[in-house]
């Protein structure tokens, strides 16, 4: 406080001022105007005032009670009086003079009476009269013409006991009740420090008093009308000492109405009551609460009935069913809790401008819906009479069309230039060109057919006419010579040799291999050799039979049934060959005819592969030949391994011939012709094919040469044209 207001003219003066600068009057009565203002620390009155203000701001009950007691003239302790400043003491004295002497009745304990009851200045007149002993007589005693409904309301026989009319707080949690769950506006008992467990009917008694006095604003004519009514039969004892009980009759009226016995005529006979007072009685007649049950809705309806403005709402609430009333009571308690917990003095937040700019709520929600009026009662429709419903018609009328945004992209000139450039770059890629003309396959087909037909014709001519133009090979490969020498040495021995023949070629190449092998097999047959066939191919056994038949036809003296045994198919590839090299009797125990091969006359006494005099391999497969060399050759020791191979496998087998792992080899028609040349065979199969073979090879060479020249010339012309 930095200013002093002049009590005479109201002008503001500095705190150091002694006299008002406006009216020139002394601001302090006991201060010498000539004296200088007291120092700041010497202003005890201000300190006391500040201390008083601090005590009030602390909000302690004791301070409040002390203050109240001081205002009501109650005695204080000596210490407190000694601390009271002089100006306050004068004020107290002045108040004591103005305050009438307290009544002789027993004073109400501060803990039991609300604060406002202690302040007589704030009490209404009718309460003051009660306190002063002018207790209004019961209506029955007073007038005798009390209306029947009021008699019934106040009749002690019909009034339940105090404990019976204790409000049913079961549906209100203790916490909510303690913290103001039962919200009665401006009830004096709703003071800090009140324990919720102490809430009883007595706490609600002043409700009527307070409601009448402050919140509900009951008109004075109502009290006058009530006071003019005759006394009830057994009115409550209106003792000023028990002022709380003085209002029980009104509390009872609120909590325990007897609407069933209220007659409209009685109310109208009462005379001065306003007309709207009859309506609650009619509505209350529909809902009769149970005795001892505090019906908040009834209370609310009664209060609303007193207020003329809320009459329609009270009517509608009275007409609500019980379950809805319970919900409303809960809402009532929740609202009270919210109001008691809420901080009423919070300042309204102010949104800064930049934050408001970031929240363009108007863009998302063009028009915010107006807050719903919870007290609004639906006037029409099937939900008529209900409260707190969403206003359907209002929403429709408040609806506005959403803003329309343009879907057109807004680009700058620079972006448009870039887009155009990008479009020119990809326009060629997206353009589908005409498919290239499909080249005709007719020339290739004609060429292929011509080559084939020419080759076939030439071969046929050579076979048919067999001119004998091609000379037999004069140069014999050394491996063919070794092959021939080995065969001759074995067949020239006194004991016919026993040869293991591995037949390992496909039927597709049987035309070549069977022709070559036929000459070799004939020579072995001519030497009465024993032949044991085994094959790694499924078709091997059949090819072996065919080969034996062909060769045997040329050697009639050879007893193929006794000297030839077909051990059949040997499954397992290289593993089977390893097993055969290790133990041939278990690897190939029987022939294709089911005969125990190793017990036959041909193979009797043989237990290993090395017991054979030679191993002859008829093959067109490099891999299988290598498996024979790798798996069997190490097991046979010095036993010669002779190979009759196809021309296509010969180049891959040549290294094994060079290394000596293959003792001798005949490959292709060339090798067969050389072998026949060595054996001096006159009617050899290969010799009959030799002319055709040479003609075919020559023609193929010519085709290759002509083809190379032709494509070379075409490339030259093509390059020249391009150049």
């Amino acid at each position: 406080m930095s200013e002093i207001i002049c009590p005479f003219c109201g002008a503001e003066n500095p705190i150091e001022a002694v006299a008002c600068f406006n009216c020139k009057k002394q601001l302090y009565d006991d201060v010498d105007p000539d004296a200088s203002p007291p120092p700041r620390d010497e202003m005890e009155w201000l300190k006391d005032f500040r201390g008083f203000a601090d005590d009030r701001s602390a909000g302690t009950i004791k301070a409040t009670e002390a203050d109240q007691s001081s205002e009501t003239g109650e005695t204080t302790t000596g210490d407190e009086e000694s601390d009271v400043p002089e100006w306050l003491a004068r004020i107290r004295a002045l108040k004591e003079d103005e305050t009438p002497a307290p009544a002789e009745e027993e004073p109400v304990e501060p803990e039991e009476l609300p604060a406002y009851l202690g302040n007589e200045a704030e009490l209404p007149d009718w309460i003051k009269e009660i306190k002063q002993g002018d207790v209004p007589q019961p209506l029955e005693e007073a007038g005798g013409d009390m209306p029947e409904w009021l008699k019934n309301m106040a009749g002690p026989d019909e009034l339940p006991a105090a404990e019976d009319i204790t409000p049913d707080l079961s549906m209100i949690s203790p916490e909510s009740g303690a913290e103001g769950g039962i919200q009665l506006p401006d009830i004096p008992y709703d003071l800090p420090g009140e324990e919720p467990a102490e809430v009883d009917l007595g706490q609600f008694t002043p409700l009527t008093d307070d409601t009448v006095d402050e919140a509900v604003d009951i008109p004075d004519d109502l009290f006058e009308a009530i006071a003019s009514q005759p006394e009830p039969e057994q009115p409550p004892e209106p003792t000023s000492a028990e002022s709380q009980d003085d209002l029980d009759w009104l509390d009872t009226d609120i909590t325990q109405p007897e609407p069933t016995e209220i007659k409209e005529e009685q109310l109208t006979d009462s005379g001065d009551l306003p007309e709207w007072m009859f309506e609650p009685a009619e509505t209350e007649a529909d809902t009769v609460p149970e005795p001892g049950e505090l019906d908040f809705t009834t209370l609310d309806a009664s209060l609303a009935a007193i207020d003329g403005e809320n009459m329609p709402a009270a009517q509608s609430e009275a007409a609500l069913p019980d379950w809805l009333l319970e919900d409303e009571a809960e809402n009532f308690a929740n609202q009270a809790e919210f109001q008691s917990e809420g901080a009423p003095n919070l300042e309204v937040g102010e949104m800064p401008g930049w934050l408001h700019a970031m929240r363009p709520l108007e863009a998302a929600a063009p028009e915010l819906a107006s807050p719903m009026d919870e007290n609004r009662v639906e006037p029409t429709g099937p939900l008529a009479g209900y409260q707190g419903l969403l206003p359907g018609e209002g929403v429709v009328t408040q609806y506005s069309r959403p803003p329309v945004y343009s879907a057109r992209m807004q680009v700058t000139d620079k972006q448009r230039i870039y887009a155009t450039l990008f479009e020119t770059l990809i326009v060629d890629e997206t353009r589908v060109g005409a498919p290239p003309a499909e080249k005709s396959t007719t020339p290739q087909l004609v060429l292929r057919m011509s080559v084939g037909l020419v080759l076939i014709g030439v071969i046929l001519m050579a076979l048919i006419f067999n001119p004998g133009l091609a000379a037999s090979p004069t140069l014999v490969p050394p491996e063919s010579v070794v092959f021939y020498d080995t065969l001759q040495n074995l067949t020239a021995a006194a004991t016919p040799p026993r040869v293991l023949v591995g037949l390992d070629y496909e039927p597709s190449l049987s035309g070549e291999l069977s022709t070559i092998a036929a000459s070799v097999v004939e020579d072995w047959m001519a030497g009465n050799s024993g032949l044991a066939f085994v094959s790694l191919n499924l078709s091997g056994p059949a090819l072996a039979d065919d080969l034996v038949n062909k060769a045997g036809a040329r050697v009639p003296a050879y007893l193929a049934a006794e000297r030839v045994i077909n051990l059949g198919y040997l499954p397992g590839g290289a593993t089977a060959l390893a097993a055969l090299a290790a133990d041939p009797t278990r690897a190939a125990p029987a022939s294709v005819d089911g005969i125990q091969a190793w017990n036959s006359l041909l193979l009797q006494g043989m237990v290993a592969v090395s017991d054979f005099d030679a191993i002859v391999l008829l093959t067109d497969n490099t891999e299988n030949t290598r498996a024979w060399i790798e798996q069997v050759k190490p097991a046979v020791g010095s036993t010669p391994l002779l190979v009759v191979s196809s021309a296509q496998a010969a180049p891959a087998l040549q290294p094994y011939v060079q290394s000596g792992q293959i003792s001798g080899m005949i490959s292709g028609f060339t090798g067969g012709a050389a072998y026949e040349q060595l054996t001096q065979a006159q009617n050899g199969s290969i010799r009959s094919y030799w002319d055709a073979y040479q003609a075919g090879m020559l023609l193929i060479a010519a085709f290759m040469l002509l083809g190379s020249l032709g494509f070379g010339i075409m490339n030259i012309f093509r390059r020249t044209k391009k150049a």
């Binding site: 084939g452 076939i456 071969i459 059949a542 290289a574 790798e630 028609f669």
Partner: protein
């Protein structure tokens, strides 16, 4: 009609149908290809049953006394498990059989390759330089030159398959050393000759088969004409 003549006529017409491929791919050629595939599969199934399963598994299981049956039960179980490979969901049951086959096959192949091919080829590459054992009555000079060409071709061919390169600091890509590049080029010539020889062998084998088939046709037709 004798059976041989019947089968000969069948073989004749089948050969004609195969040779029709000269005129391009046609339905007759595709038909005869399917016939060959079917016959081959049927023949293989019959052959495996009569020459493998029956004599080597089924008969022993039925005839061999109990103590010796275990030797045949194991491959039978493994063979049955191998059939589960037909089902994608149960194919895992065939893994033990496949593991056995793969493991044994790899062991046999590796062992044979080391002892049969690797050692054998090294010995074959050295032998021409053994001038004491000149073979074939040739001179030692010829054998020595042959050995040098053989050894040089082998080394150069192996150098061609050397794909390693050393990266230099100032180059982003590496390059082979000169000692590798030159033999690699020479080896490339040897490889080309080898591939040419293989192609010639394939062509020669095919020509021989064609000649044999044409001779068969002539041998069939000639009696009919005469």
């Amino acid at each position: 009609m004798a059976p041989d003549l019947l089968w000969t006529l069948i073989a004749f017409f089948l050969t004609i149908l195969v040779l029709s491929y000269v005129l391009g791919d046609n339905a007759l050629f595709r038909f005869i290809m399917m016939v060959f595939v079917g016959i081959s599969a049927g023949y293989a199934a019959v052959l495996i049953y009569y020459q493998v399963l029956l004599p080597r598994l089924i008969i022993p299981l039925m005839t061999v006394p109990a103590p010796g049956k275990a030797v045949f039960i194991i491959p039978a179980v493994l063979g049955i498990l191998l059939l589960f490979k037909l089902s994608p969901r149960l194919s895992a049951l065939g893994n033990p059989s496949m593991a056995l086959l793969t493991g044994v096959g790899a062991a046999v192949a590796v062992g044979g390759a080391v002892t049969g091919t690797l050692f054998g080829q090294i010995s074959g590459a050295i032998s021409p330089f053994d001038l004491a054992g000149v073979q074939g009555g040739g001179s030692w000079i010829t054998q020595l030159l042959g050995g040098i060409v053989l050894l040089g071709g082998t080394v150069c061919s192996l150098a061609y398959f050397h794909f390693g390169a050393r990266k230099k600091d100032d180059e982003n890509t590496g390059s082979q050393p000169v000692l590798i590049q030159i033999p690699a080029r020479i080896g490339q010539v040897f490889i080309a000759i080898t591939l040419g020889a293989l192609f010639a062998g394939v062509l020669s084998a095919a020509l021989a088969a064609l000649i044999e088939r044409l001779a068969f046709l002539i041998n069939v037709i000639k009696p009919l004409i005469s």
